[in-house]
Symmetry: C2
Subunit: 415 residues, 2 copies
């Protein structure tokens, strides 16, 4: 099959590279060669594939020899228009573009269905981690109750470094930028938007319906301080930026936030730029998929796996199980966590209020005091709905006259 | 589609249960109900499905309504004859039977191909871990260089308990038997045969060819002692029973053995009855899949995922990429490891021989002496081929007159 790559950046050029490196293997596996015919790149950069460079999308659209188009341009426009036009010509499309899949995924799936071709996007979440196909195929018979992942390598690298070095967020970010692990404008990563889009895609996979990533509560890691990390270390926990979806009967919960997790959580050891995705099914129990969530070749490898699937199923539409129905996401207040509450001053004189507002009747008050620190202490609450916790925190401040400096959500009960 | 289950033991009855619990979900995902028509069980036990019990396989074989047969009997005969006859009638077959897949897999795949139906076996390795489909579909374009897994829950449970309690192998096995985590006759698990069969299936997945599990060096965990575990803990390592395959150009390496692994290995935190499978591809880098490797519902869930795949692809053969070509496995001596060598006596007077026979020129001799132990010490060798190590160990004993009490293979370099 002859193919075109639109967008010859890191991932697009990686796809061309994987097709070159593993040419024999791919031909053996699909029974025919996958041959790169065009590269579309508006910056006119096409490296080793310069002889295939075109600047006009219509050349690709109008060439009946091109059976498959790879979209690695990023952004929504003109990616959407190009993808739509390709599908309408009956060309399969494979993308790594999470913004496009999040915003237009179910629409594009239905266009693909109409034209009996395929729209695949394995690389849009978790890079080389096989999460989309695993949910659609392997867990098709499962009622998935939860999908929770470390979905962004940059933030996980920063949180890992902060734990290992004890340095501040700002210093660690700065170092990550110098090393190329964080972008010059790091907001999409560190403010959680990248994770939020991927979380929306996972919610669509779990629910079979559409959702808006804008409806997902999204908090990045900017406010995670060196002191927070010190508490986490003291408690033997790791702080991870999690994107999480839960399905409880017909209700859908989702959030993106830094969460303290325990050693029992399979996501606990996922360090550095690696990603991990924990999936819980009603019969399956807990599984976890781990790997490189970004990076040129791992992400390109996921794109190529979709290309192979498209060639193997070139005469039939393969659904991904998304309807066009839009679902509501419950408000953040209806999620429940434990909370590490950092309180001004020493534990004296506030035991009653702590017990009353943060702990169950049967839980003893064990203040956590970091070595050498007299200006604050912390307490780990029992599991509370976020709305209750926020109210009680306010009441605590009013009743005791003590400030709550900061709080961190924690999951103590997962395994 | 109407289906039959052959063998109503733990997994077979679990399949019936998953079909019942997730009936709506399954029907929605495949577009038609999957309906259990027959249960074949020679012990005449069919629990809730007693009304579907038959004792004669021919009733299933001759019923044109039955489009899919689940084989959860175990063993090779008569499972092989029943599966073969079903495929020859054009019925899809899904199995969890690793002995059957290991011995007859490529033969049955080719019979399925001939009759345009499918033979699927996701549940035969790693229970609810989606390893077979991931390798065949997601990593189709990758040159897989290594697959290494913790593939047996019983042995991993025992090794985890030994680490946590410091108890001996015998005591821990005895306790595991009392708790139902190990069988009364535990040999298939603890002597590594179960892992060896699964490793053979993974080698076929990685190579696309047949192999004999009898050709895989297989060492169980009987000889792992409390002192070995103490050394591992001292070094911050975990001992895991690994099944490993490596592909280097046209050469195939494989072994099953207890191996010491470091904190950097994604398999390090896989505790208790969980399984984990690390897969390395030339573009993909390292990924790891984690989950329940056994257990009634997780394994049954994997069987059901294959049933769904068979219904979705009921009119076309889906290859698993195995040829009938038999490959040779390199001898154990050609694998390379680090080795923890436990040597009689104190480190005095043997530094020269240790350096000469176990260490590179640039590696310093750091004897490891466990607290309070004067009868032995240990040394961690540099990476050596197993054949060289064995020779050098013998030479060491001859030259120094000291006995080597035991050695443990280790992987220091994996991440």
């Amino acid at each position: 099959m002859k193919v075109a790559i639109m967008g010859y950046g890191t991932i697009g050029s990686g796809v061309a590279e994987v097709l070159r490196i593993n040419q024999d293997q791919i031909q053996r596996k699909v029974g025919e060669p996958i041959e790169l015919k065009y590269v579309l790149d508006r910056n006119e950069i096409a490296g080793e594939d310069h002889d295939k460079l075109v600047l006009d999308f219509n050349i690709i659209a109008e060439d009946p020899e091109v059976g498959l188009v790879v979209e690695t341009m990023g952004g929504i426009h003109p990616a959407y228009e190009f993808v739509k036009a390709s599908l309408e010509k009956g060309k399969h499309v494979v993308t790594s573009n999470k913004a496009l899949v999040d915003a237009m995924g179910s629409k594009l799936i239905s266009i693909a269905k109409e034209h009996n071709c395929n729209f695949f996007f394995e690389a849009s979440v978790g890079g080389g981690i096989p999460v989309i196909r695993t949910i659609y195929h392997n867990y098709a018979g499962e009622k998935l109750t939860e999908i929770t992942g470390i979905l962004n390598g940059t933030t996980n690298y920063i949180l890992t470094k902060m734990r290992d070095s004890g340095a501040s967020f700002e210093d660690t970010l700065h170092e990550a930028q110098k090393l190329g692990y964080a972008e010059r404008d790091p907001s999409a990563d560190i403010d959680g938007f990248d994770t939020s889009r991927k979380t929306a895609i996972l919610l669509s996979m779990a629910s079979g319906n559409r959702c808006r990533h804008e409806d997902i509560y999204t908090e990045g890691i900017r406010n995670v301080s060196a002191i927070d990390v010190e508490y986490a270390k003291f408690l033997g926990m790791n702080i991870r930026l999690l994107g999480s979806v839960q399905v409880v009967e017909d209700k859908y919960f989702a959030y993106v936030a830094p969460i303290m997790i325990t050693k029992n959580d399979p996501l606990y050891p996922v360090d550095g730029v690696f990603n991990g995705i924990r999936i819980v099914g009603n019969c399956l129990g807990t599984t976890m998929l781990y790997g490189m969530g970004a990076g040129k070749l791992p992400t390109a490898s996921a794109v190529v796996s979709d290309m192979i699937a498209a060639v193997r199923h070139q005469h039939e539409f393969q659904g991904i199980g998304w309807s066009e129905k839009m679902i509501d996401i419950e408000p953040m207040g209806s999620n429940a966590f434990n909370y590490l509450v950092r309180i001004e001053g020493t534990p004296d004189d506030v035991a009653n209020e702590v017990k009353d507002l943060f702990l169950n009747d049967t839980t003893a008050f064990h203040p956590i005091v970091l070595d050498g620190r007299t200006d604050e202490f912390a307490v780990m609450t029992d599991v509370m709905f976020e709305s209750d916790f926020k109210e009680n925190m306010k009441e605590f401040e009013e009743k005791t006259g003590r400030r709550v400096f900061h709080f961190l959500r924690a999951e103590l009960g997962k395994d």
